[in-house]
Symmetry: C2
Subunit: 196 residues, 2 copies
DNA sequence: TTGTTCGGTCAACGGCTGTAGAGTCGCGGT
DNA sequence: ACCGCGACTCTACAGCCGTTGACCGAACAA
């Protein structure tokens, strides 16, 4: 093998990356609280103290591990593209979304910092989706419902592993979801809708 | 005051109930891992050892605290009642669902036991909802999508506290959600739907 | 070669947690 | 009046965790 003369900085970056990778896996599988620095270090073949030396604290390690998760707000011109855009995001999700994202999602219900992270990301996604919804006076609400719908399906599928969803193909799910999302974006509520 | 001559067994039941109440609050607010027996005992004005003596272990305390959460499967005859039934469940949810339920939901992503609990309950709910969906070959999948949709909205609203949902009235949310649920139950997917 | 920087390890501390066992005190039956 | 049972408390242990500081050896610059 022609070893490319691995310099010291190279080695450093490599270990750092390996730690980050294993941390992502662990955080995604067990969440923030149950993930131990010792376990991450062990998986990366490294001493726990090194993790601290590189990342300062468990919290910062988590931050670095999930920093790639800044959901790009889907941009879509009209309501038709709206559902497609969202489903594309979900399509990516159903195929298996990045481990950093799984990590934040897994921790969001028990770790306030992760919850903030998700709230912000979802907020951006809602704003982006809202722009694609026809100008109702409740665009934001409709967008929020669409986004949380996708969130629920993703949780049920990826994090809870509901059999009914695991058995289905992503395409089928997307096909069934599309009319539902369109209903959220387009249709006006029936005249008997209760106001408040 | 006519004190009803509180017997010893009465006092015992009262303390037990108080511990269970505070445990539910704590589990609902912080999840299983972050809830400490010491905190529960403190909130109940009781020694931590007593909690152990009464409930055996933290795990059993959790079990007792959330045992009321066995979501009754909604029974509905046709697809029309389908959405209404589910929304009624959500209506209850939006009004503030029982703390035991919040506790399991909060813990489900990080605690496998809670995840099992939710998977089972959701499975029952899916089966119940599936019976109300017109006889497609994918009734169960459609029902699962409807249930996870509601799950997502509930999480976004109750556990994450998304502003866009908090600001809206439950009735409005229900009105917007209804067509989406109907779309899941009724409409056949377009002929271009990809099979698998 | 010599001195130094730096990737990496070792050992340890302090805090918090679930849990166990012995003990205290007062109500309730006799 | 007496005694026992049971509600409740005190104290302590053992384990695990995040975090720290001293230390070692090899790669680098001079």
């Amino acid at each position: 093998m022609t070893s490319p003369r691995q310099t010291r900085a190279d080695r450093r970056r490599a270990t750092e990356e390996r730690i980050l990778d294993k941390a992502r896996e662990e955080f995604a599988a067990r969440g923030f609280d149950r993930t131990t620095i010792r376990a991450v270090a062990g998986a990366a073949g490294v001493d726990p103290a090194l993790v601290m030396q590189y990342f300062g604290s468990k919290r910062e390690l988590f931050g670095r591990a999930v920093q790639t998760f800044t959901a790009p707000a889907p941009e879509a011109a009209d309501a038709d593209a709206f559902a497609d855009r969202m489903l594309a995001t979900l399509g990516l999700k159903l195929g298996g979304l990045p481990e950093g994202t799984l990590a934040v999602l897994r921790s969001m219900l028990t770790d306030p910092a992760a919850a903030d992270h998700v709230r912000t990301a979802l907020g951006g996604q809602i704003a982006g989706a809202g722009a694609a919804v026809p100008a109702h006076d409740d665009r934001e609400l409709r967008a929020a419902l669409a986004v949380t719908t996708l969130l629920g399906v993703t949780i049920g599928h990826q994090l809870l592993g509901l059999p009914a969803l695991r058995e289905a193909s992503p395409d089928r799910i997307a096909a069934l979801l599309r009319p539902a999302l369109n209903a959220l974006a387009e249709a006006a509520p029936g005249p008997d809708a209760a106001g408040a």
